[in-house]
């Protein structure tokens, strides 16, 4: 690609950095994802010192650096803390805009979960509404084994 500036061509070199990655989920994260896959259940970990319940689960507490061993099941429904209707397009996201991103505080959890909201007209979504996980029929051990959360 070139652009002329007076009598000088100004070149750009176009390329694309493609690096394949295989991120390790680790034992703790894998257990969470396998529960989604095999049992349609959402499990969390609870810090023995400060009682924080983390979804997704953590092996070490962010706040007090304690090792965490206790697993607790949280509900697959909760409260929509906030949301946005995304109307711009980007090649990185599954699905075409407009779609809704929300932060859901599941019953029993102390941290919000970032996920998609669907099954509701865009002008009916409200902060504070209750939503419930809709699981994929075919699950593979992935955060998108929950297809989206829908209002209840």
């Amino acid at each position: 690609m070139a652009q002329k500036q007076q009598d000088q061509e100004l070149l750009q070199y176009e390329s694309r950095i493609k690096v394949p990655y295989t991120w390790s989920v680790g034992e703790v994260g894998s257990r969470f994802l396998m529960e989604l896959k095999e049992n349609r259940k959402i499990w969390a970990t609870r810090c023995p010192s400060c009682d924080m319940v983390f979804v997704p689960p953590k092996k070490t507490c962010t706040y007090c650096f304690s090792d965490i061993h206790e697993w607790v099941e949280v509900k697959d429904e909760g409260v929509l803390q906030t949301f946005t209707v995304v109307r711009y397009e980007t090649p990185l996201i599954p699905g075409k805009p407009p779609y809704i991103i929300g932060i859901i505080m599941l019953d029993g959890a102390d941290t919000g979960l970032v996920h998609l909201i669907a099954g509701v007209p865009h002008d009916k979504v409200k902060v504070g509404m209750r939503v419930k996980a809709v699981f994929e029929e075919k699950r593979k051990g992935h955060i998108l084994d929950i297809n989206h959360f829908k209002p209840i």
Partner: protein
């Protein structure tokens, strides 16, 4: 920790554009460095050490510190690269400050830059989210900011029009700044009628992508007044990066990291009533609604009272506390430079070198940085030497 009194004694920046094809990144950096050295009547030999920062995945350059030496002049000088996302520029500034304040060096050149034209910013920003958990759902910066705006508006009853008032102010101020990228006034209607990107954020509410660079020289007490007749002394800094995942953020409150940082900063500097005691602020406001909730976090007014402050003109040029005389981030956003530009512009105000964008009689200025997962950095500058 701060042993040496430290001041900003020189600043420089490029004329910011959406695309600068006539220079590569190194040459872009060189422009800001040259202007900064000229501003302080310095040569590169006067510089003891260099700190540089950008969001390196935006340009796909992995050794920015060494790669850029023809631009920074850092050949065989101590140099460090720091990158913390949107806060990169304030981290660069704080790093430059610490390198002098700790007593390690006397004159440190701090550089922030970005050549946003070189990549797809949204694609690049997305790689900043955790790959397993957040990256699959969130894309780019706008939706992450939109959920915060939504929570604030719902809780406090602020409107999109209130937010638009911030965009109108910053875009008007930018017309006074010869370096700004977007120098066109817009009306409330223009903002309201611009396309919705991610509710409640519209096109004219948000920052552009910019090619640009900024450079600043920090100097110790021994040198500061020799280089600059009215140095901008650093009276305190604070950096708070308490979140990592969007799910951990407290949507019930207004930018808690800014509350923490400004509280710490005011305590250090003995500031009790920021609205009265601070003469000008250069704030990293990447979208308009931030200009409401975040100034509440800064203690300029109580919860939900920011819209009134805006409509009353308190933060306009000529108001009690002008915010963003430069036009701010909505006018210019060369990301790795953006937060350093805030520090640089605050210093320019204290030095009295602001030209058409100068606020009269500035003795105290505050600069902020924003980035990552709702992080805040703040810096306080004064015309008087710290005790």
């Amino acid at each position: 920790m701060a042993k040496e009194k430290t001041a900003i004694v020189a600043t420089g920046q490029t004329h910011h554009r959406s695309s600068r094809l006539d220079v590569n990144g190194i040459e872009l950096i060189h422009e800001a460095v040259t202007r900064c050295l000229e501003d302080g009547e310095l040569t590169i030999d006067d510089i003891d050490a260099v700190v540089i920062g950008n969001m390196d995945h935006f340009e796909g350059i992995n050794y920015v510190d060494t790669w850029s030496i023809d631009g920074s002049g850092a050949f065989m000088k101590p140099i460090i690269k720091v990158t913390t996302g949107g806060t990169t520029g304030s981290t660069v500034g704080h790093c430059g400050y610490h390198l002098v304040a700790s007593g390690m060096f006397d004159k440190v050149l701090a550089i922030g830059w970005e050549k946003n034209s070189e990549s797809d910013t949204t694609a690049a920003i997305t790689t900043a989210f955790d790959p397993i958990w957040d990256r699959l759902v969130f894309a780019g910066a706008i939706s992450g900011l939109a959920v915060e705006a939504m929570a604030y508006m719902v809780k406090y009853g602020a409107t999109e029009k209130d937010a638009a008032r911030v965009a109108v102010r910053d875009r008007k101020h930018a017309t006074n700044n010869p370096y700004a990228q977007l120098r066109k006034e817009v009306s409330i209607e223009d903002v309201m009628n611009s396309p919705m990107l991610s509710d409640p954020i519209k096109l004219l509410d948000v920052c552009p992508r910019t090619d640009g660079a900024c450079a600043v020289v920090f100097a110790s007490e021994q040198y500061a007044e020799k280089i600059c007749d009215r140095p901008a002394w650093i009276h305190g800094i604070s950096a708070k990066h308490p979140y990592n995942y969007l799910g951990d953020y407290d949507w019930e409150d207004r930018l808690p990291s800014m509350q923490m940082a400004s509280k710490e900063l005011y305590a250090k500097a003995g500031i009790k009533e920021p609205l009265k005691e601070i003469d000008v602020m250069e704030l990293y406001l990447p979208y308009s609604c931030a200009g409401l909730s975040w100034i509440e976090a800064l203690g300029l007014c109580g919860p939900g009272q920011a819209p009134k402050l805006l409509w009353d003109g308190v933060t306009d040029m000529g108001g009690e506390l002008p915010i963003n005389p430069s036009g701010g981030v909505i006018a210019t956003n060369c990301i790795g430079a953006t937060a350093l530009l805030r520090i640089s512009e605050a210093a320019v105000q204290v030095m009295g070198r602001g030209g058409k964008r100068q606020v009269p009689d500035v003795n105290t200025a505050l600069a902020s940085g924003f980035g990552g997962c709702f992080w805040s950095d703040v810096t306080l500058l004064k015309s008087t030497k710290p005790k």
